[in-house]
Symmetry: C2
Subunit: 86 residues, 2 copies
């Protein structure tokens, strides 16, 4: 069975986000004065094959985020797992 996994990785709330601040400044300078806050993170889409049980996929993705995809000291992550057709 194949699974599509979508992962969002963001800096934790109390960590300085200079990229978000720069994007907010750029948008405000373009005239979008109503943009009050911006945070920039990473987004990943993974295909996981050869796994029958969604619980196993959840467990594996959590482990991969901890070990490689995110930096759990400064980043939070969330993910959604969806079964693929065929």
């Amino acid at each position: 069975m194949k699974w599509k996994v979508r992962i969002e990785i963001m800096l934790k709330e109390n960590i300085l986000d200079p990229q978000g601040k720069a994007v907010k400044g750029g948008l405000n300078a373009l005239g979008y004065k109503n943009v009050a806050d911006v945070h920039v993170g990473k987004y990943m889409e993974l295909i996981i094959a050869d796994t029958d049980n969604q619980e196993d996929v959840n467990k594996q993705v959590d482990e991969m985020c901890q070990r490689l995809l995110a930096n759990p000291v400064i980043e939070d992550y969330t993910f959604q797992v969806e079964k693929m057709e065929g």
Copy 2:
């Protein structure tokens, strides 16, 4: 009225994604052989204030993606808009 906007920005399908390839290689090397494909993109969370109409928010976010947040020549974007409490 305040709105929370979540934006995912990904390279278009036929554009080479070396970062995704590197992450896939890293996961496979760590023993996660069932990771068949990885694509890496950007994720942004914006707060938009002082706008009453969700249609106006959608229109503004689309325009901001075209002008600054994404590169429409090589990237696709999707976004969700959600009304914030209070």
